[in-house]
Every structure is written in structure tokens, then in C-alpha cells.
Amino acid sequence: MKKKIDVTRIIMGILAVVLFLCLWTLSTREGTTLGKLMPGPGEVFKRLLKMTHTNIGSLTIFGHMLNSLRRVLVGFFLASVCGILLGLGMGWNRKCEAILRPLFELIRPIPPLAWISLAIVWFGLGEGGKYFIIFVSGFANVTINVYSGAKAVDPEVIGAARMLGCPKHRIFTSVVLPSSIPYIFTGLQIAISSSWAAVVAAEMVRSTNGIGWMITAGQNINDMEQILAGIIVIGVVGFLLTTIMRGIEARLCAWSRV
């Protein structure tokens, strides 16, 4: 679907963004009702620049960003490992499926953020609870995708491998595993963006640093510029995370998208 370079598309896109910024500036100029509530884009941008070298709370904006990122990456890593193992196990072995699937289906419909309170009771207000929330947000997504990937292996291919005398564990490593990899990446892709959303929510509920905390702190001191700057950072980091994941996928799974 990708075309080469589409000039009208780029011009229209720039026009749309510029128009949006103009509208924002105009509607928040001094004297309007909206202007009392919202800062203009220029002020937010200036604030964002200022935040890179002055502290908000105890850290600069990079410190908060790194804290949030660390939480996401730890939780996401645990969720991926467990999710891939569980998904492959359930997809490959029927006994494993019969035993673990019902337990998984019991937990799956509970929205991840509903675990926040329980996580606080279990792990306290420290890092453990946040890792747990992010783990829960990513885990179900990874598992369900890997599971359907391992289930979707063409039975004829497995049959062919068996006919050629391939032992069972090698069928797994050289047939089932490679053909589930695109599904694994789909799962990871969904999981990273929901983990990022979860860390923001978890930090908004209880935290002393991180991007989510920055927003709620801004709300508490009625500082709209800080809130909007936080939202911009969240958007940029979220965008970068998904782009990086997509890049890794394109590199590693180049063979699957013909």
C-alpha cells in the first residue's frame, strides 16, 4: 500500500498540523475563557525545554522518563518471557492446554488496571507493585497471540516433518517455533503499548516519580503547562517504543512478509 513520495499528502499533513497549532494558539490567547484554563502551544513548548534542565519534584524530565521506561522494560520483559513460554506450551501440548487454559481464561477478562489495588496491598507502594501491573498488562496479550500462533501451524507441515523421522522436540524447535514468530511479535507489539499505558496509569494512582506522577503532580498544583508537557512526553515515548518494536520485527521477520 506504500507509495513513493506523495507531495500533496505531505503538504496537507503539514497544513493540518499548522492549522491545529494556530487554532490552539488563537483559542488560548489572552482574554478568552479558554485561555484562563489552557496555556498555548508556545508556552507548553517553552516549559518542556525548561524541564530538561530544571527539576520537577526530585528529577528532571529525563529522570522521570527513565524511571517510567525502566518499569516498563522490566515488566514487559517478564511478561514476554512468561507469555511466550505459556503460549507455546498451551499451543503445543494438549495436556498443558487442558490444565492451564481454564486458569488463564479465568484471569483474562479482568482488566489489567483493576489489579492496581491488589498490587498495592501485596507489594506495597514500591517498585514491585508497578512491575506487577505492567507484567499483568503485557502478559495476557503476549500469551493469547503466541498461543494462537502455535495453534495455527499447518498440520501438514508437522506431518511431513514426522514422516521424515523428525523427533518431537525437533519438530517443536524447527517447525512450530519459527512459524509462530510473527504471532509472537504481534503479541509483543500490542503488549508494549499497553504496558506503556499501564505504567502511566499506575504512576498516576500511586507514585513519587515518573511521567504519570508528573501529570498528577501538575494536576495537584493546578499547573496545566506541566500536565500538557507530560502528555507530550508520554506520546513521544509511546510512539518511539512502538516504532522500535516495529523496526525489530521488520529486521527479524523479514522473511515472513512477502
Partner: protein, 266 residues
């Protein structure tokens, strides 16, 4: 996976195993809480206690001021109002973005700016505009549902096969006929996927929004229970959230079957 021959006998065995697994799980849970006392009831209440609390919450308004039905209805009201607006705007916008080139060029960049920000992050801004009432929470849910709906309807329409459109054109279909008779029916499965994803996202956002700012609803109930160390009520709330979400998901699936079975032929 490799044994397809003695299927029915095997299936019975596996169903039995599934039932056993759930029972063993509940048994171990009961064992480590009430019987052996490894986990205190302020950390992890036993399944019997959770079940008791669940039944009790249907009539008991303590300690959060309402029964579980009232909380569920309050949550449903917020979630559905946000969700329906999100679907009502998101699906047509997604279709328009994919179908009309000008809309695509103009709106897609703006949408891409909005997309990576999770809905819940807007809550502080929305509270400033709309207060802590229903509207700000409904708006958070609206944003969460809206994004999923737009993405899925957009890619659904974009996946329409050019050949089908060409056939339509050859037979003299007008542009609107092409849209309504070819493109939208092709996109329907994707649109329904979008509806399901949006439901999950909005249900998730609702809980977060209620944890942060509310006086009613299941998320509020869970949060209150945490404050007074009643994890049994937290678990009851989570179970109620899970069941309600599952029922809503099932309803969408039913709707999908209904719409797609009837087809769009006339």
C-alpha cells in the same frame, strides 16, 4: 495435537483435566489461606471468604455506601456512554479517512499525534475542563474507544480488494454504492474487531478513571476496599469487573454474528 483419531474419548479426558485443574487451583488457594494460614486474610482472603463477601455485597452497602449492583450500574453508565460516543464517531471517521483521500491526508497526521497517548493520561486535563463528574470519565473512555475504532475501521476499508472495486465500477456502480456495497461489507470483520478491542480498552480505562476520581462505581469500590485493607472486597470487585466485561464482549460477538450472517445483500 498429533492424535486426531480417538478424538471424542480424548476430549472427555481433557475436559476432565480442565475441571480438575480449576478445582486444584481453588483447593490450593484455600489451603494456603484458611487451612495452613501462610497468607493472612488481610493479604489474600480465602476463596470461601471471597464468595461469601460476593453474596453479601448484593445486599450490604458497607463499607463503600452502595451494593454491588449499584456500583456495576454506575460503572456501566459511564463506560457505555463513553464507548457509544467513541464508536459513533470513531467508526465513521475511520471509514471516511480510508475512503476519501482528502480526509485521509488532512486528518491522519492529526490522528497520529493523538494516537500514542493513552486515554487515561488526558484525565487531569479533562477534569480541569469538565470537573470530576460523569463527563470527564466518559471523555477518557471515549478517547480510548475512539482510537481503537478508527485504527481498525481504517485498515478494514484499506484492505478492500481493488479487483472488487473494479468489478463494481465496470458494472456502473456509483461511488456511494461502491462504499456501501463493497468496501464497508469487506471491512465489517475488522470493524467488529475494533469494537471488541475498544471495549477492552474502555473497560480498562474506566477502572483507572474510577480509581483516580469518582464517588461510585466498581473502581471506586476497589479503591475504597484497599484503603481499609479488605482484599476480599477488592477481589469481589475484580470478579464483577471481569464478569461484566466478559458479558459485554459476548454481546458484541452475538451482534457480529447477527449482522454478518444476514449479509448485506438485498
Amino acid at each position: 495435537m498429533n492424535q486426531n483419531k480417538n478424538g471424542t474419548k480424548d476430549n472427555k479426558k481433557y475436559i476432565l483435566m480442565s475441571i480438575c485443574s480449576v478445582l486444584v487451583f481453588l483447593f490450593i488457594w484455600e489451603l494456603v489461606t484458611d487451612v495452613l494460614g501462610i497468607f493472612k486474610s488481610t493479604m489474600l482472603p480465602s476463596p470461601v471468604k471471597v464468595f461469601g463477601t460476593f453474596i453479601d455485597k448484593f445486599t450490604n452497602t458497607k463499607p463503600d455506601g452502595a451494593t454491588i449492583q449499584v456500583h456495576t450500574l454506575a460503572s456501566l453508565k459511564v463506560a457505555l456512554s463513553g464507548y457509544l460516543i467513541g464508536v459513533g464517531i470513531g467508526v465513521p471517521l475511520g471509514i471516511a479517512m480510508a475512503w476519501f483521500r482528502k480526509v485521509d491526508c488532512f486528518v491522519t497526521p492529526l490522528f497520529d499525534l493523538l494516537r500514542p497517548v493513552p486515554g487515561i493520561a488526558w484525565l487531569p486535563v479533562l477534569i480541569v475542563f469538565f470537573g470530576i463528574g460523569l463527563l470527564s470519565k466518559a471523555m477518557v473512555i471515549f478517547l480510548s474507544a475512539f482510537i481503537a475504532c478508527v485504527i481498525n475501521s481504517y485498515s478494514g476499508i484499506k484492505n478492500t480488494r481493488m479487483v472488487h472495486l473494479w468489478v463494481g465500477q465496470t458494472f456502473g456502480a456509483t461511488r456511494s454504492q461502491l462504499l456501501f456495497k463493497v468496501a464497508i461489507p469487506t471491512a465489517l470483520p475488522m470493524i467488529f474487531t475494533g469494537l471488541k478491542v475498544a471495549l477492552g480498552a474502555s473497560w480498562n480505562a474506566l477502572i483507572a478513571a474510577e480509581l483516580l476520581a469518582s464517588t461510585k462505581g466498581l473502581g471506586f469500590m476497589i479503591n475504597q476496599a484497599r484503603g481499609i485493607y479488605r482484599p476480599d472486597i477488592i477481589l469481589v470487585g475484580m470478579i464483577a469487573v471481569g464478569i461484566t466485561g466478559a458479558i459485554l464482549g459476548y454481546l458484541i460477538e452475538l451482534l457480529q454474528k447477527l449482522v454478518m450472517k444476514r449479509g448485506w445483500r438485498q
